[in-house]
């Protein structure tokens, strides 16, 4: 059975695209046939993070409007055969995604993919609703600050009421909470919400905590999903998330201030 997973958040810039790229690469490297779809019509940055922007000929909207076949638009990742990318279009026409069109594309992709990862745009408008509508599962990306948590709460409510599963009275979308850009030092100073705070407010199962990390920006600039940077904490944290999605039980890491860091700071090393 194909698992359709939407990566969503409400608030913009919290790490949805970073997460979509990392998770889809991780699943593909673990041997699963995976496709990642950019629902952020008009902005298009998944293809940049995946380093395939120059290979985009046809896109998601072309396929929906019948101007191209699906396999003409799918881009095979150069690093991992199991991974394909369906890029968003540059056209500003967000209305181009129709529910029937999206349903048809997802159905066709389901035939030969185990995982379909949908990178949602920010907000709670048409594009975000379209990205979540057909999902079986949702990764709700939250930064540990009040406005982001509030928006995630809103999105969880919509997942529970405005999805295909909700409308057909099927079992609800399974939510996974992902806290991103977590900085234990700032939590310690009281500038950020703690993991416990976020979990209490959102009352949703936690699938991972991604630390704030310079590796993320470096990787996305180089077009490398951060999960391939196996030395970085963010990369390792994403690898844990992928393992948990595959049913493995792994403890949370990088959630506490490292003693080493403290010593280094104290002695100015």
């Amino acid at each position: 059975m194909t698992r359709i997973i939407v990566v969503t958040s409400g608030k913009g810039g919290v790490g949805k695209t970073t997460t979509s790229a990392a998770i889809s690469m991780g699943l593909a490297k673990a041997g699963h046939k995976t496709v990642v779809i950019d629902f952020d019509i008009g902005l298009r940055n998944l293809d940049i993070v995946m380093d395939c922007e120059r290979r985009v000929v046809f896109d998601f909207v072309n396929v929906i409007q019948g101007d191209a076949r699906l396999n003409q638009a799918l881009i095979r990742d150069k690093r991992c055969d199991n991974l394909s990318i369906l890029p968003a279009s540059q056209t500003r026409d967000k209305e181009a995604l129709t529910r029937e069109g999206v349903a048809a594309v997802l159905e066709e992709l389901s035939k030969d993919h185990e995982y379909i990862i949908c990178d949602s745009p920010a907000g709670i408008e048409g594009g975000a609703m379209m990205a979540m509508y057909f999902a079986d599962e949702a990764i709700v990306v939250t930064n540990p600050e009040v406005s982001s948590v509030r928006d995630s709460d809103r999105i969880i409510g919509l997942l529970q009421s405005k999805s295909r599963r909700a409308e057909n009275n099927e079992p609800p979308i399974q939510e996974h909470l992902l806290i991103s850009r977590y900085d234990p030092e700032r939590v310690g100073r009281g500038d950020m919400l703690s993991i416990e705070d976020v979990e209490e407010i959102l009352a949703s199962p936690l699938i991972g905590v991604i630390p704030e990390s310079e590796a993320v920006l470096r990787s996305s600039n180089q077009g490398v999903p951060v999960i391939l940077d196996e030395d970085s904490h963010a990369g390792q944290a994403y690898a844990d998330v992928v393992a948990r999605l595959r049913g493995e039980d792994r403890p949370m890491r990088f959630t506490e201030l490292e003693r080493k860091n403290i010593l280094r700071r104290m002695f100015g090393g």
């Binding site: 509030r150 709460d153 809103r154 969880i156 409510g157 919509l158 009421s161 407010i201 009352a203």
Partner: protein
């Protein structure tokens, strides 16, 4: 560079938002300066030392405009060692008046939640079974139990609103808004595990977060003599 500029070491200022404790000092609509001052004397006689140097926001609920004696009122308060720093007001005129006194203007809490109360008390429709919600009520969601009670087995998020013609029982935390007895039933009550809400109301009488008491665990909200009574404990 000016010659004297190098004598001063440069510093940078930190400007941070903060939520500090303050009092909200409300003057009832029927009061004039004289009766307000009288009430102030009574208040000081009771709580004088505790109130000294307390920062206060001044409020004049249910008036169309700030009273023209606002300036005198502020002077009286300062003379009594209170520290007024802001005034709740809506119109541009009132804001100007506030600014001219060197005070900040603050928005008046939304009046839309003051629902008109029906003239005669509605009876509780006991026949309707309670509406039971098992999931957390999320930001942006609104739930209304028409004709009866509402039971929520989880928390109510900030930005969510729950309403009932009867009572509201929240087994989790209330972080959003809860309005019981919305058709005017004055015996309606609100119960919650913890009151962190934005607003509670019974039969159209409401209270905002800043007026909530310190005791916010295992809370019961009821309407007594046209005022909301909130009882709870501090143990968590």
């Amino acid at each position: 560079m000016r010659p004297d500029a190098k004598a001063v070491a440069p510093v940078s200022l930190n400007l941070k938002g903060s939520m500090t404790a303050h009092a909200l000092l409300q003057v009832p609509a029927e009061a004039d300066l004289q009766s307000a001052c009288q009430a102030l004397t009574t208040l000081l006689a009771e709580d004088g030392p505790a109130l000294q140097h307390t920062p206060c926001i001044l409020a004049f609920p249910e008036r169309d405009h700030l009273p023209d004696w606002l300036g005198d009122w502020v002077e009286q308060l300062r003379a009594a060692d209170l520290v007024p720093f802001a005034v709740q007001c809506g119109t541009e005129e009132d804001q100007q008046l506030t600014h001219s006194l060197g005070l900040a203007d603050m928005p008046v809490p939304e009046p839309s939640f003051r629902r008109p109360r029906p003239a005669h008390q509605a009876r509780m429709a006991a026949q309707v079974p309670p509406m039971v919600v098992r999931q957390q009520v999320r930001s942006g969601q609104q739930i209304y139990a028409q004709g009866g009670d509402l039971v929520i087995m989880a928390s109510v998020s900030a930005g969510a609103e729950v309403m009932a013609d009867g009572h509201i029982h929240i087994h989790g935390d209330l972080r959003g808004r809860a309005l019981a007895g919305v058709k005017g039933h004055q015996e309606a009550r609100i119960y919650c595990r913890r009151l962190d809400g934005e607003l509670v109301a019974i039969a159209g009488v409401y209270m905002m977060q800043e007026q909530f008491p310190e005791q916010r665990d295992q809370v019961e909200v009821s309407l007594e003599n046209d005022q909301l009574a909130i009882t709870g404990s501090t143990a968590r």
